[in-house]
Structures are given as structure tokens and as C-alpha cells.
């Protein structure tokens, strides 16, 4: 317990968390501080490119094995399964309609790549390493949850979800997924030599760019919380904190069954604990326009994301280390 608290304290005082807190505070104080839309998009492109490339280069140097394929399969299964778990919890803890609950549940089966990036940087800072292919696991976990949410609606809801042909293509070829997977493959092909060539661009400035991106995320989360406070009932707030812990338990089980390294187990926990705020909200607006976007965006970005960033990541790290002896 002391270890978790010490780790949480260290994590809370890291630059990335403090910049996130600055963003939230600025938004609450109604400061005019803002990161222009194009800059925010540029920063996210940089982060996806860097994390994908480094993951691919790591796989190239460590080689591939059956665990890679099994990890990908486990990621897909978790992404399909977690929305069903989330939906059950939401129906028990809140009074959300089936439509809203299904839309929120879809977010919790998918992943937050920024939470993944933050967890990766914590792993590095404590001297652990992880399987490079966890980046690919992150990519395959983006989409299945959306299909799961639509299945929940078809099974339990009265609303008709629009599952058109173009939506499947949009989900699978979402810009974030294409860049992440593309960079991963290029990193894999070019290996350590390729990484060395572009290291000054993707290694050294990485933490600074992450700080700026988290400042923007803090501003967005703070504004969302300020404007949508009315939708955040105690039950919903409790779900936003409980669900990541439940999800991380599933990620822990998957990581241990696969025999991943302590860092890999921790990343699997983080992926299963995080909630999407990029791919899934866009898909839900198209497929399930009746669902209230302020509920799922506020919950995912305003509650679960800050929870994972501040307390979740140290907890997942401590549990993964304790159970793997890492």
C-alpha cells in the first residue's frame, strides 16, 4: 500500500500530470488559455507516430512469437467483452436509458491512446520495459467495442442504430489507427537502425510534446466538466471511477495468462481500464445520434481519463509488479 502511495505521489508531481492539472485549473478559472485546434491535432499526430514507430522498432529487435498473436486476440476479445460488463454496471448504478448506457459502454471497451502513452512513459521512468507490440494491441482494441455497443442496442434497445457500410470503413481506417499501425509497421521494417536515424525527433522531444498535449487535454476536460456538470450524477461519477478498476482486472488476467512482462501486464491493464474519447464518440454520433454526447464525453474525458492519469496508472503498476514479481 505504501508503495502505491509513494508511486502515486511521484506520479502526481510529474510534469505531464502537472500540465494536465494546469489545463483543468485554467479551464475552471475561465482563462483564455487555449491550444489551437490545428496545433492539438499536430501534437496528437506526433505522439501516435512516435509511439507506433518505437513499438515497431522494439518488436524488430526482440523478435516476434506466439504471444504477439495471442495478445492481439486477447485485446480484441476484451474490447468486445468490456462494453457488456460496462453496460451491466451502468444499468445497476445509474438511471441512464439503454441508448445512453450502450453509447457510454462502447467507450469503455475501446482505449485512450494518451493514457497508454502516459503509462508507457511511467514504465520507462521506473526502469521497466514492455513488449513493443502492445502498441499493436492498442490499435486492435479501438474498434470492436463500437460493434459491441451497437449489438447491445440491437439486443436491449428500442432505438435503431445506423450500421451503414461507410461506418465500418471509417472505424477501421480511422486516421489514428492508420497512423499508429503504419508507424508501427515502418518501425518494425526499419528496426533499431531506423529508430537511430529519427531518434532526435521522436525520442528526445517526446516528453515535452506529451506535456503540451496533456495541457490541451486538461483544458478540454476542464471545459467539458464545467459545461456538463449537470449530467454527472453521483452514480455516473462512481461508474467513471469503478469501471477502469474493473477493466484493469480483466487486463490483468489477460496479461498474466499470456505471461507478459511486468511492464506488458501493466500496459494491458491500462488499455483495458481506459476509455476512448476520439474514435468511439465520432462513431457514436453517426450510428447512435440519439445518445447524449455530453454524457459519454464528460465521463470518458472528465472522469475516467484524469482518474487513470493520476491514480489508476500507479495502482496498475504496483499491482502488475506485485503479481509478476517485477
Amino acid at each position: 500500500m505504501d508503495g502505491i502511495l509513494a508511486l502515486a505521489a511521484d506520479n502526481l508531481l510529474s510534469p505531464i500530470i502537472l500540465f494536465f492539472a494546469l489545463g483543468v485549473a485554467a479551464a475552471f478559472a475561465r482563462s483564455d488559455l487555449s491550444v489551437p485546434e490545428a496545433v492539438a491535432k499536430g501534437l496528437s499526430i506526433y505522439l501516435l507516430f512516435a509511439i507506433g514507430f518505437k513499438g515497431g522498432a522494439s518488436v524488430a529487435s526482440h523478435g516476434i512469437d506466439a504471444t504477439l498473436v495471442l495478445s492481439l486476440v486477447a485485446g480484441v476479445v476484451l474490447s468486445f467483452l468490456l462494453p457488456v460488463v460496462a453496460f451491466g454496471l451502468l444499468k445497476g448504478m445509474t438511471r441512464l436509458s439503454v441508448t445512453d448506457a450502450a453509447a457510454v459502454a462502447g467507450h469503455y471497451g475501446s482505449i485512450s491512446i494518451v493514457t497508454f502513452v502516459a503509462a508507457s512513459s511511467v514504465i520507462t521512468s521506473v526502469g521497466l520495459s514492455s513488449e513493443g507490440y502492445m502498441v499493436a494491441v492498442a490499435a486492435v482494441m479501438e474498434a470492436p467495442a463500437i460493434l459491441s455497443a451497437l449489438w447491445i442496442i440491437a439486443r436491449f434497445g428500442k432505438t435503431q442504430a445506423e450500421m451503414e457500410e461507410g461506418l465500418v470503413r471509417e472505424i477501421l481506417l480511422n486516421g489514428s489507427i492508420v497512423l499508429l499501425v503504419g508507424s508501427f509497421v515502418i518501425g518494425w521494417i526499419t528496426g533499431e537502425e531506423g529508430l537511430e536515424m529519427i531518434a532526435p525527433f521522436i525520442v528526445a522531444p517526446f516528453q515535452g510534446v506529451l506535456c503540451l498535449f496533456l495541457l490541451d487535454m486538461g483544458l478540454v476536460a476542464g471545459r467539458g466538466l464545467r459545461e456538463a456538470r449537470s449530467v454527472l450524477t453521483p452514480g455516473l461519477f462512481a461508474f467513471g471511477v469503478l469501471m477502469p478498476l474493473v477493466g484493469s482486472a480483466f487486463g490483468l488476467a489477460a496479461g498474466l495468462l499470456l505471461g507478459l512482462s511486468p511492464g506488458g501486464v501493466m500496459l494491458f491493464m491500462t488499455l483495458a481500464a481506459s476509455a476512448s474519447y476520439i474514435a468511439v464518440p465520432a462513431a457514436m454520433r453517426v450510428a447512435l445520434p440519439e445518445a447524449n454526447p455530453s454524457i459519454y464525453l464528460t465521463l470518458s474525458l472528465g472522469v475516467t481519463f484524469p482518474f487513470n492519469l493520476t491514480l489508476g496508472i500507479p495502482i496498475y503498476l504496483a499491482v502488475a509488479r506485485a503479481l509478476t514479481g517485477g
Binding site: A40, V220, R223, E227, I278, P281, R285, V286, E290, L297
Partner: protein, 103 residues
């Protein structure tokens, strides 16, 4: 200067629906339109702003078409199919254009 009567249709719609709307317009034979970014606003579904968007889910765009009055019904039918269930506003105003042969 010779001007001709026309209809100006402005459709403010969620950014994620932009491609679907323009595809429907093109399919209905409306090949001329302009897409404008929307900075922010407020409506029945609450406030929205472009600032710090991490997803297109919260953003809006405005699609403006200027057409001959006799083609208005076709355009509105095509647009309605796309915007029916979504957040947005469709408005029609009278306007006058120069070089009518272009519309």
C-alpha cells in the same frame, strides 16, 4: 447589372456527418456547395466549440448551397435523409446571383 433569383440553403450539421451530407447532395445533382468551419455556438443540445477538439464528434460544419428555386425540393429531400436524426439546422433564404448560368 443583371441578377437572377436563387435559393440559399445553409445546413449546419455535425462534422462527422459532413461527408455523408455532401455525398447525398452530389447524388441528388447538387454539385455546387461551400463548406465552412463553425467556431462554436449554442442550441438545444447545449454549447459547442472548436477549441481544443480532440475528436470531430463535438464539432460542427456549415454547408452552404446556392441553387435555382426549382431544384430546392430535391436538395431538401436529400439533405433531410441525412440530417433527420442529427443535431443541426437547415435554413432556406431568398437571394440573387450574378451569372445565373453557373447555378
Amino acid at each position: 447589372m443583371q441578377t437572377q433569383k436563387a435559393k440559399r440553403v445553409e445546413i449546419t450539421i455535425e462534422a462527422v456527418m459532413e461527408d455523408r451530407l455532401t455525398a447525398a447532395l452530389i447524388k441528388a445533382g447538387v454539385t455546387g456547395f461551400t463548406i465552412l468551419p463553425v467556431l462554436g455556438g449554442s442550441g438545444r443540445s447545449g454549447q459547442w466549440s472548436r477549441e481544443g477538439q480532440v475528436s470531430r464528434a463535438g464539432g460542427m460544419v456549415s454547408v452552404v448551397c446556392i441553387i435555382r428555386p426549382e431544384r430546392l425540393e430535391t436538395l431538401l429531400e436529400a439533405a433531410f435523409e441525412v440530417v433527420e436524426r442529427h443535431i443541426g439546422v437547415v435554413s432556406v433564404t431568398d437571394c440573387e446571383v450574378l451569372r445565373a448560368e453557373r447555378f
